[in-house]
Amino acid sequence: MAGSGPAFEAGASREMNGAEYIVRKLISEGVDTLFGYPGGCVMPLYDALLESPIRHILCRHEQGTAFAANGYARSSGRIGVCLATSGPGATNLMTGLADAYMDSVPMVAITGQVPTALIGTDAFQEIDVLGMSLPITKQSFLVQAIDELPEILDQAFRIALEGRPGPVLVDLPKDIQLATLSEPTIPHLSGERISNTTTPAQWQQAIELMNTSRRPIIYGGGGILLGDAVSPFRQFVETTGIPAVFSLKGLGALPGDHPLNMGMLGMHGSVAANQVVQEADLLIAVGVRFDDRVTGKLSRFAPHAQVIHLDIDPAEIGKLRQAVCALPGDIKQSLKALTIKLNLLDWQSQCLERLEQDGFALPAQDGITGPHFMRLLSQTTRGQAIISCDVGQHQMWVAQHYAFDHPRKHLTSGGLGAMGFGLPAAIGAQLANSEIPVINVAGDGSFMMNAQELATIGRYRLPTKIIILDNQALGMVRQQQSVCYQGRYSEIDLSDNPDFCTLARAFGIPAQSISDPDDMAYAINKLLETPGPALLHVAIATEHNVWPMVKPGDANDQIITGANP
């Protein structure tokens, strides 16, 4: 890490070039860690970084930098910043930005661009990054003159955090980085939460609906964490006594062992969670967007329920499901206003009974199974580790069986479903949370999509642990081909995977492999106790599937279990 020089004291003012200004601005915004990869059009910025106190993490692919910044932001609530050069550097960031956009993660991406005079000439490593990024960022900027730079950077950091968070891209031509900015001042504009736009009359309407409901259910999502509303949400559940189901991104909003926690609903939710939603007469939707993975066939989702919808983004309310009571604005304030005592003892005991009968169960199968392993990992870590998932069957087993104690500890590519997310996101999370165990739970397919980031973990000796559930196949694709395409398996075989333990050791990371269920407890403990990074390879059967499952396009009451596929 480079040392701190007097030129980089936040708030100081002198003549400087654009690159130096950017570094000073990052410092004034409290950015302590930057994930990047250098190249031709960001060389002035890399030169300025040399004398700054900012910790630069060199990933081994720009997609790794974007996912690492993404994981940093998700696990800390602070803005994740990544940096790449023009052309391929910038295009490689795009998946990470799209993921942040879908899951409302605050990020600022800075990309180099060819000099302004060359823009539009098909210059070397020139690509229209501004145009490419429009659909996957909250806002994108191209700095066209040095005088625009301070205002654009201020806006970028404000927009990324305010209201519904999201990624912002700033495209910086090389000549702007080199141009002189005279006597700049560097204001610090932190993100401001928008005030509530809901009126007391709307809260009163919601309270009347709650008072008359006999079968209310809370449907909680990622907006609870993003709205800094975990504590008021828990108070709301405790006081009202309304049972709650969660989307993938809502997991942890209520402790996993809480008696009113019905767990995940939707495509791979429990039968119990889906059933109580189908029976509910009132659905209190908190920070959710009625994603198709949650609702199944929308017209048959929660068919008897009136909906109260709380969300900071008015565009989400009524987008897919009409709300009889819309509560746009700050979720925290609305939850506090709706925290009243209700008498729901009969309904609570019905829900509890359903959960006992039809909650997530452990399968009776030979060998190590994903559910058994995740249940044991959850018990061993007491739900307190940060789990950074990839995408696929293992991701669903984590969601079903790992009892998170807080949603900030569950890093998962929910909206985009981007394979390759988990390993670099774990790097970012580890750098933001040095005191908390960080575990990347990957599948063999996902792991290979950003396996180069083992080098980053090795270089910085991050104590990140890696668990690969290896079924030698693209398991989730195989499962859908099994269930929906009569077992016509197409391009899902990964039986020529490398030896993952040898691969890890090549990067200086100790590794072990298990295939016997009796070795699970020992291996998990050994993994967690190993100082520095370590990898655990877990061999599981190709045939194991994730149950229950709602087929794409089916209604949630058509859910199938492993017993009746």
Binding site: L130, L134, P135, Q139, F141, L142, P314, A315, K319
Partner: protein
Amino acid sequence: MIFSLHIQARSNPAMLEKILQTTRVRGFSIRSMDVKSCDTERLLKIHLTVESDRPQERLVTQLNKLGGIRELTALHAVADSAPLVERNLQKVSLMYPV
């Protein structure tokens, strides 16, 4: 359903692209568009007529979220069979020394 929008937006790079892209992605097709740039205010004044079987509100709320939108008015909804307003456009050629 066909309806019109009056939009005032900051004249940022790609502002117009972002509006058009949002319109397309959210399931609305453009029947007509008139754009004027107001240099003194750094504003774009856009009159957009769009068609979709989706509710007008779905587009309005998404456009309202875009950074740089200063004013947005949904003018009216008209039936599919109603004639569109015709506009007289004047073609202007600009010449400058090379």
